[in-house]
């Protein structure tokens, strides 16, 4: 090719200074102790009871919210395919708009809705119904996750669904397939790339979040993200925090590899 390699020099500087060195430094802290010796304690700390509990809860809540997003998003994508909303880019517009709103403000909106003196309780009271305690529960955190990440599930599935040639579906019907069979054998397989990228874009942020659990869990729902964040901002134990981050990275890599297996075509679309 005709261009000089020198063009990418600033990029390589950024890759080294912004990606390679930071990853190495997190690994350095993860495998050393305060007195400078090499240790595995920060890694094995993940197996202590309260860390395991936090990790388990994170996995559970991330799984539940991913599943809820998937169940809500797939029919939405199918309905949008058939409706006149689907054209003119209007749908994309309506789905992207909330994503452009700062996600802390969106999470705060649920705090306003769910709070003890919040909007929903105000409505309940006006109707003469008893107040509900909704904040600071795992349910509130899942709701926040679903709300924040739902568009990230709908958009890739919608993109995949829109690409399906309707002749394929008609052909399947003509050849005598039933509705369920067409969904299982034609539509679903063709949506896999979209579903896989949707799951990646919901599951990983949900697994690692500390913001949503902090705002809607009020310190009572401790996820692995919260524990890591506190190690850095409250306890100033960088060594332990780095060790736990490394373990979390392993979980991210595992889930990526698993998801990759499903997406054989590799045409998963980011948005």
């Amino acid at each position: 090719m005709t261009f000089s390699k020198k063009w990418s020099a600033p990029f390589i500087v950024f890759v080294i200074a912004g990606t390679v060195i930071p990853i190495l430094s997190i690994a350095y802290y993860g495998f050393t102790s305060r007195d400078g010796g090499i240790t595995l304690d920060n890694i094995t700390a993940m197996f202590s009871a309260n860390h395991m509990q936090a990790l388990g809860l994170s996995l559970l809540l991330a799984l539940v919210s991913t599943l809820v997003c998937l169940i809500a998003a797939f029919p939405m994508a199918m309905v949008l395919r058939d409706s006149k909303f689907g054209k003119q880019g209007f749908t994309i517009f309506v789905l992207i708009l909330p994503m452009w709103m700062n996600f802390l403000l969106r999470t705060m909106a649920w705090q306003v809705l769910l709070e003890r003196a919040g909007v929903i309780n105000g409505i309940l009271q006006a109707l003469g119904l008893p107040r509900q305690e909704m904040m600071n529960t795992p349910g509130a955190v899942v709701l926040g996750m679903v709300y924040d990440f739902l568009p990230f599930m709908i958009l890739p599935i919608y993109n995949a669904v829109m690409k399906i040639d309707s002749h394929l579906i008609e052909a399947a019907y003509d050849l005598g397939a039933g509705k369920a069979y067409v969904y299982r054998k034609v539509i679903l397989p063709l949506c896999v790339p979209g579903i896989v990228s949707g799951i990646t874009m919901v599951f990983i942020p949900a697994l690692t979040t500390f913001v949503i659990s902090n705002m809607l869990g009020g310190g009572k729902v401790n996820l692995i993200g919260n524990i890591i964040e506190q190690e850095f901002t409250v306890n100033s134990n960088w060594y332990l925090g780095s060790g736990l981050s490394l373990v979390m990275m392993v979980f991210i890599i595992i889930s990526m590899v698993l998801l990759e297996k499903f997406d054989k075509t590799g045409e998963g679309t980011f948005i």
Partner: protein, 259 residues
């Protein structure tokens, strides 16, 4: 009937997505501080917001960082795409692998890793460290959107221009750059929105005393939600609405002229 249920479903999802935002907008005009009782229409929270040095300072930081980060990332990313093309296949694979790391990794790990390396080298956290981090996580998006445009055809056209007597600089400006331009534009926009929306990486790489909109909201919400934040939500929502509407209209126009 099927159509009815389909549309009903769309409406339900839309309500789910928009009702919380609508609540914030309604409450921003509420005179009382209460979350559940609307007393009287008032603009006083907007007044409070526009007089708050904290909020205005954070707005300036957010937008200047987003603009600078997107600009620098776009330049570096585009240059990278041009330079990488001439490299060995194996080098390309390694570089692209490293390039993907910040995109695939969880933000919390990226943020912590950056913070640790800043502190290891004795760099104090502040505006510049936020900017550096934002450039770092924006570059992959620029490369992702520009690289597909740098293909065989671009090469051939460039060489044809040289054969026809164009200088390298001229051929680059007149042939390669226009070819890359749509990718460059979408890379810039993507970077800009990612930077504006980022909280987690900023949270770890900012020093004390400097705030972007996201970090300001986070610390304010921890103390207790102030209605001026509702006003801020409304303003941000309106800005997003207008920008998207303008972009959408341009897109439709472009499609029409293309057809």
């Amino acid at each position: 009937m099927k159509k009815f249920f389909g549309n009903l479903y769309i409406v339900i999802i839309m309500l789910f997505l928009y009702l919380p935002i609508l609540t914030l907008i309604v409450l921003s005009f509420n005179e009382a501080k209460s979350m559940s009782v609307f007393t009287r229409f008032s603009l006083k929270w907007y007044g409070e917001m526009f007089h708050s040095k904290l909020i205005l300072g954070a707005l300036v930081n957010t937008f200047s960082i987003a603009l600078l980060a997107a600009l620098i990332a776009t330049i570096i990313g585009t240059m990278a795409v041009i330079g990488i093309d001439g490299m060995k296949q194996s080098t390309q694979t390694v570089l692209m692998g490293c390039n993907n790391i910040p995109m695939l990794n969880a933000d919390i790990v990226t943020g912590i890793a950056l913070m640790l390396s800043f502190l290891m080298f004795g760099i104090s956290l502040g505006y510049c460290t936020i900017l550096f981090s934002h450039i770092t996580f924006c570059i992959p998006y620029v490369i992702l959107s520009v690289r597909p445009r740098m293909n065989k055809a671009t090469d051939t056209l460039f060489e044809a221009a040289l054969d026809l007597g164009a200088s390298r600089g001229y051929a680059f400006r007149k042939v390669v750059l226009p070819e890359l331009l749509p990718g460059i534009a979408s890379g810039f926009l993507l970077s800009f929105t990612m930077s504006i929306d980022d909280f987690i990486i900023t949270h770890f790489t900012r020093g004390a005393g400097i705030n972007t909109i996201s970090t300001l909201i986070y610390s304010e919400v921890k103390i207790g939600i102030r209605p001026s934040l509702y006003a801020l939500s409304t303003v941000i929502f309106l800005i997003a609405l207008v920008v998207l509407l303008v972009m959408n209209r341009n897109n439709i126009k472009n499609e029409r002229t293309a057809a």
